[in-house]
């Protein structure tokens, strides 16, 4: 919202604002406005001083014109500047006839754009200055020709004297949605006046003497239109506005069009009230009906687009068809044009939600809808705006007002708001004196009845729809009293506070992140949404994907997996350097549950409508252009992460293979037999889909954070008193048989052999010494079976490999002899091989 200082000044007694502002602060206009308005919640985003360069422009009179001897498009002009005649070369095609007046920049002038005017020669002809366009003077947008001034202006007059306020300070305000009143100069002036103690004196307006003619306006949808003022003007002539009007509109960022349109825009910017002018000759029966559109009723708006309306759209129709989309945009048929001389001027109040819905439905965001959807004044301000426009129209376009009416629909009630002054301190910790409160509320035009010194009853003015309850008034008091007066004072001293707690899933995620960091991975943060094509490899079916209706970057699906984001990052890295890429991310994945999942707690009714969000920690390792990473690094990283939360994880055969991982290079991650994640090589199809070089090996692991069991406090084990004895075993197995299964088979066999030996010993001697020697356990109580090597070289049949294992044997009360260790080892190996051969017949010791 652009606010002109000159315009604001006109809302007060002459010279009053300038003086009060200077008295309030000596820091200069720009700084004073910034501090004053920002302090009131009307944030000043920028301040522009404009028009300084216009000071040296004078009115020039054309005394002679002759063609340039060497250039067809140039004219040599004899120009009278009030003191003498100078020769100027001009390239414009719209030079007025002799006696015409133009804007002249004499030698020595510096234009607003910074161009310094000097005496120069244009293709051999001397030129003593420049005839300017309004664009060059930065007082308008027209750069198609020079600015032609009224003929009755006197040559030599300064433009700044002819157009008061042409030198101005323009403020760009960020107006928050609760302040529709500040979308016009009067509203901003009211705040400024209240702060500076200046009474508001807006321009004088007159009511027309014509008769009230109720037949002009029919409100058929009173719930959507609270009030409609209509004025009929006859004998108008549509033409360009005078310079002061065009400059004023240009200063606040609007383009001058014609006097009628300019007046409605002028009032929009002065009062914040959108107006509309119909060509009354084009309205059937010359009257309007404010009604809901019919279903699929067609209408062409003045931008030339045809719309099919709905019954939720409010239209201003004539006796037959819609002529305007109420509060949003006028219609093409009845728009004001050059030949219009008969007007119906509209000033209305429309219900904000309806305007907003209509504007959105039809894809409009206009200056008009912007204000209506925030709520314009439906009281005295509305009529003031209409009368201000009426006065300006009569002044600029001639004619007279022949009829008017004020039609009523359902207007919002102004709430009666109790205000308890002590409540200010209770809420803000600072008192506002009653005198200050009285002055602020008075300045804002809030009606106050002081029932007692502490309890007041207030009614807000119709231009402040945001003032609805006590806190709203308290905020107003604080805005003007100064929010900077709030002291810093704790309600409860720090030592009396309850202890804070963390969130368990966040906590667990943070610890896993630290584990992955310690494993040498860098944390990445990827977008939570991805393109659908990137998750097609994954197992969440299309109907369970969570879709964004209005995506950006073509990423329309909430990620179902973490891998696509990490692969995107990998692609980014590979395109830029050749180094290894080790990344992880802790985040959420999203999917609709397969079936509705009942929820409990106070938010259950909402929660049941929401998708499932899973917390996941994911890791990716790529060895760099030279390779060098091993698949076991990814299981290592995952196991390290889980170790960070006190858990011993191990890779096991996956219960069901993950589709996005290489079928032969993957494992599940298990903690105490429960699967908490997966790890493996990224499926070659995915490597291709991400356009990574053929043969690139990428490793990936993820941990389902919510599946991670709680940390268990470690229980110490006594240390073995006697050393164990080791026996190595080289086992020839098929490639597809996993080490985890071999170890499990050996462990199971050890248990079985041990039990058999005890039973046999008891039968033989009735003593329990047999079976005293057994497979040892490690520090964690796990069977001590080490996997030393995975050999795939010469001497091993095709489709097989040799696994080198080391088994440790121990007894509790003594050392183990070589013979008994060997006997036990042989028995365990035989039993394990036998059980493995059930599914892998080619297993054999080497």
């Amino acid at each position: 919202m652009k606010i002109s200082h000159q315009w604001l000044s006109e809302m007060f007694a002459e010279g009053a604002l300038e003086a009060a502002l200077a008295a309030w602060s000596a820091e200069g206009k720009a700084a004073a406005y910034t501090r004053l308005l920002t302090g009131l919640g009307l944030e000043v985003e920028a301040v522009h001083t404009v028009g300084e360069g216009v000071r040296s422009i004078v009115v020039g009179e054309i005394r002679g014109k002759s063609p340039h001897p060497k250039a067809d498009k140039l004219t040599v002009v004899e120009l009278f500047d009030g003191t003498g005649v100078v020769q100027v070369v001009c390239g414009a095609s719209n030079l007025p006839p002799l006696g015409g007046k133009v804007a002249f920049a004499p030698v020595g002038a510096v234009l607003p754009g910074g161009l310094a005017i000097g005496a120069r020669e244009l293709r051999g002809v001397p030129s003593q200055g420049m005839i300017c366009s309004e664009a060059e003077l930065e007082i308008g947008a027209d750069d198609s020709g020079i600015l032609v001034l009224p003929e009755d202006w006197r040559a030599g007059d300064r433009l700044v004297d002819r157009v008061p306020g042409i030198v101005d300070t323009v403020l760009e305000l960020g107006v928050t949605p609760n302040r529709p009143d500040a979308l016009g100069h009067i509203g901003v002036a009211r705040d400024v006046g209240t702060k500076l103690g200046l009474p508001l004196r807006p321009p004088h307006v007159d009511r027309p003497e014509a008769a009230n003619t109720p037949g002009l306006v029919t409100i058929a949808a009173p719930e959507l239109c609270g009030r409609y003022l209509g004025y009929v003007l006859e004998g108008m002539s549509v033409q360009p506005s005078p310079l002061w009007m065009r400059v004023r509109l240009h200063r606040v960022g609007l383009r001058a069009i014609s006097n009628v349109v300019d007046v409605t825009n002028f009032v929009l910017m002065e009062c914040g009230q959108p107006l509309h002018a119909f060509d009354r000759d084009r309205l059937a029966e010359g009257r309007v009906v404010v009604r809901r559109a019919e279903r699929e009723e067609p209408m062409t708006t003045l931008d030339g687009t045809q719309k099919l309306l709905t019954t939720d759209d409010l239209v201003i129709a004539d006796a037959g068809a819609p002529q305007a989309l109420a509060g949003v945009m006028g219609g093409a048929q009845s728009m004001v044009h050059a030949g219009t001389h008969h007007l119906l001027l509209e000033a209305a109040w429309f219900a904000p939600p309806g305007i907003r819905a209509t504007a959105r439905r039809h894809g409009y965001a206009t200056d008009s809808s912007y204000r209506f959807e925030r709520g314009v004044d439906h009281g005295v301000g509305l009529e003031r705006a209409a009368l201000r426009a009426l006065g300006l129209l009569l002044e600029l376009a001639g004619g007279r007002c022949t009829a008017w009416t004020d039609a009523a629909g359902e207007r919002p009630q102004q709430p009666t708001i109790p205000l308890r002054l002590p409540r200010v301190a209770a809420l803000l910790g600072v008192e506002v004196p009653a005198d200050t409160a009285r002055a602020v509320l008075g300045g804002l035009e809030v009606q106050v009845r002081e029932d007692s010194p502490e309890a007041w009853t207030c009614v807000a003015p119709t231009h402040r729809p945001d003032l609805r309850r006590e806190v709203d008034l308290i905020e107003e008091l604080m805005r003007f009293h100064g929010l900077d007066k709030v002291p810093a004072r704790l309600t409860v001293p720090a030592e009396a506070r309850a202890a804070a707690h963390s969130d368990p899933i966040t906590e667990l995620g943070d610890r896993l992140a630290e584990g992955l960091r310690d494993a040498g991975l860098h944390e990445h943060v990827a977008m939570a949404f991805v393109a659908e094509s990137k998750i097609e490899f994954f197992t969440v079916p299309p109907e369970r994907r969570v879709r964004v209706e209005n995506p950006m970057r073509a990423a329309g699906v909430m990620r179902t997996h973490m891998l696509p984001g990490l692969l995107d990052a990998l692609t980014h890295n590979v395109a830029r350097h050749t180094r290894p890429v080790r990344l992880f991310e802790v985040g959420r994945t999203y999917a609709w549950p397969e079936r509705p999942v009942p929820k409990d707690g106070p938010t259950a009714a909402i929660d049941v409508l929401l998708p499932r969000e899973r917390a996941v920690a994911a890791a990716l390792i790529y060895g760099g252009a030279k390779g060098g990473a091993s698949a076991r690094e990814i299981t290592g990283a995952a196991v390290q992460a889980l170790a960070r939360v006190g858990l011993r994880a191990r890779p096991v055969d996956p219960p069901a293979p993950a589709a996005h991982l290489h079928p032969g290079v993957q494992a599940a991650l298990a903690v105490d037999g429960a699967v908490v994640g997966e790890a493996g090589e990224v499926h070659p199809d995915l490597v291709r889909a991400w356009d990574l070089p053929e043969g690139t090996r990428v490793y990936y692991a993820e941990i389902d954070i919510e599946a991670v069991p709680p940390r268990v406090t470690a229980t110490a084990r006594d240390l073995p008193r006697f050393p164990s004895t080791a026996r190595d075993l080289s086992l020839e197995i098929p490639l597809t048989l996993s080490a985890a299964r071999v170890v499990a088979a050996l462990t199971a066999a050890a248990g079985q052999v041990h039990r058999t030996a005890i039973e046999a010993g008891q039968r033989a001697s009735g003593k329990t010494t047999a079976g005293e020697v057994r497979l040892a356990t490690d520090s964690f109580g796990e069977p001590a079976v080490e996997v030393l090597e995975d050999y795939r070289g010469a001497g091993v049949p095709v489709g097989h490999r040799a696994l080198l294992l080391r088994l440790h044997y121990a007894a509790e009360q003594r050392s183990v002899t070589d013979d008994e260790a060997q006997a036990l080892h042989n028995a365990i190996v035989a039993a394990a091989c036998e059980s493995l051969r059930a599914s892998a017949p080619t297993v054999r010791p080497r």
């Binding site: 806190v471 709030v486 804070a500 040498g520 944390e523 943060v525 949404f529 970057r553 929401l610």
Partner: protein, 359 residues
């Protein structure tokens, strides 16, 4: 016999000169003085001597043995000394690149989030979380942002298509899902729905901080469609805006290591009234004015205010009994200014050359 003793001693001394290791020295000791050593053997033969010679021989034998032992000891000391000198002559260059496991890092956003979370926990705020896909009731309605109100434009919203479970048509929850209209599910535009969820779930006093991912359809050099927010909420009897100011100042002391000024400017957020923007004294120059605070001495942080009574009412809390405040700010921009990150895009690209800069 004595002559043989002298011969042995001479032989020993000759052999000793050639010994250059502890092991060889031990071997020599065993060869002469061990159980089967040659000198030991001579002592065994003493019984064969005439009694009058025995005493003299015994003394001579002891002398020879002592001489050998002393020589051995001397040699042993010499060898140890020699070995130590050699050991000390070793040179290894420890300015070569250290061997360590590859260094990993936490994302700068994570680091800021953790520091904020820890700071506010020390100030007594518990961590609260909520879903990213949220219902507009919690993201907007209950926060005093009604449907068809311009305040909804303050955040460009991503809408999520509601889901209908196939084959569960009779399920009542599914009916509710069926009734969901387009536009009712959103990606949360701020962390504020966590306020609503917390106030629905627990009674005051409430003192929480919500930290997390938020989404808005905004994508340019300074806006990412996904970003991060922190939000604090304190509700109890007698809570005032003065308490908010003091708490934010306490936060600056904990987070920046010095208590910085806090400045309120009136503003509008539908869920607070009065609403304000808050600035803090520039942590980089301490308020003296620098490039980072554009010479103003303050940096803009975020929004805050007193919880709007309409929000309390939506959450079943009596605004006549309780008051409260809330504040919120962006984590991304704070992180970027803290680390002087030149471009927002670096934050979400995952370039390891960027990420490794934040140990």
């Amino acid at each position: 016999m004595p002559a043989r003793l002298a011969t042995q001693l001479a032989a020993f001394q000759e052999a000793l000169a050639g010994v250059d290791s502890e092991a060889a020295l031990y071997e020599l000791q065993v060869a002469y003085l061990g159980k089967k050593g040659t000198v030991t053997a001579l002592r065994g033969e003493m019984g064969k001597l005439p009694p009058e010679e025995r005493k003299g021989f015994g003394a001579e034998w002891n002398r020879v043995r002592d001489a050998i032992e002393a020589a051995l000891e001397e040699r042993r000391t010499y060898l140890k000394d020699q070995a130590r000198r050699l050991d000390l002559a070793r040179v290894e260059d420890l300015t070569l690149p250290p061997l360590r496991p590859p260094a990993g890092t936490l994302h700068p956003l994570s680091q800021t989030r953790r520091r904020l979370s820890e700071s506010f926990q020390r100030l007594g705020f518990s961590l609260a979380v909520g879903p990213h896909v949220e219902h507009s009731k919690y993201n907007f309605d209950d926060l005093n942002v009604p449907k068809d109100h311009p305040a909804r434009d303050m955040a460009d919203t991503f809408f999520v298509r509601p889901h209908r479970h196939p084959g569960f048509d009779d399920h009542s929850d599914n009916d509710a899902a069926m009734r969901l209209r387009a536009g009712e599910l959103v990606l949360r535009t701020h962390t504020s729905p966590v306020q609503v969820r917390t106030m629905l779930a627990q009674k005051p006093p409430i003192r929480i901080v919500a930290l997390g991912t938020t989404f808005r359809c905004d994508d340019d050099a300074t806006h990412s469609p996904m970003f991060h927010q922190i939000e604090g909420l304190y509700v109890d009897r007698g809570v005032t805006m003065a308490d908010l100011k003091a708490t934010l100042m306490d936060f600056t002391r904990d987070f920046y290591g010095r208590r910085l000024d806090v400045r309120f400017r009136p503003s509008f957020f539908p869920f607070v009234e009065p609403g304000a923007e808050f600035d803090i004294g520039c942590p980089f120059c301490g308020g003296e004015g620098c490039n980072l605070c554009k010479r103003t001495g303050y940096i803009e942080i975020g929004g805050c205010g007193m919880v709007h009574p309409a929000v309390f009412e939506a959450c079943g809390i009596d605004p006549e009994v309780y008051t409260g405040w809330a504040f919120g700010f962006g984590v991304d921009r704070m992180t970027m200014s803290q680390h002087a990150v030149p471009h927002l895009r670096h934050m979400f690209e995952g370039d390891v050359r960027f990420l490794e800069q934040f140990p």
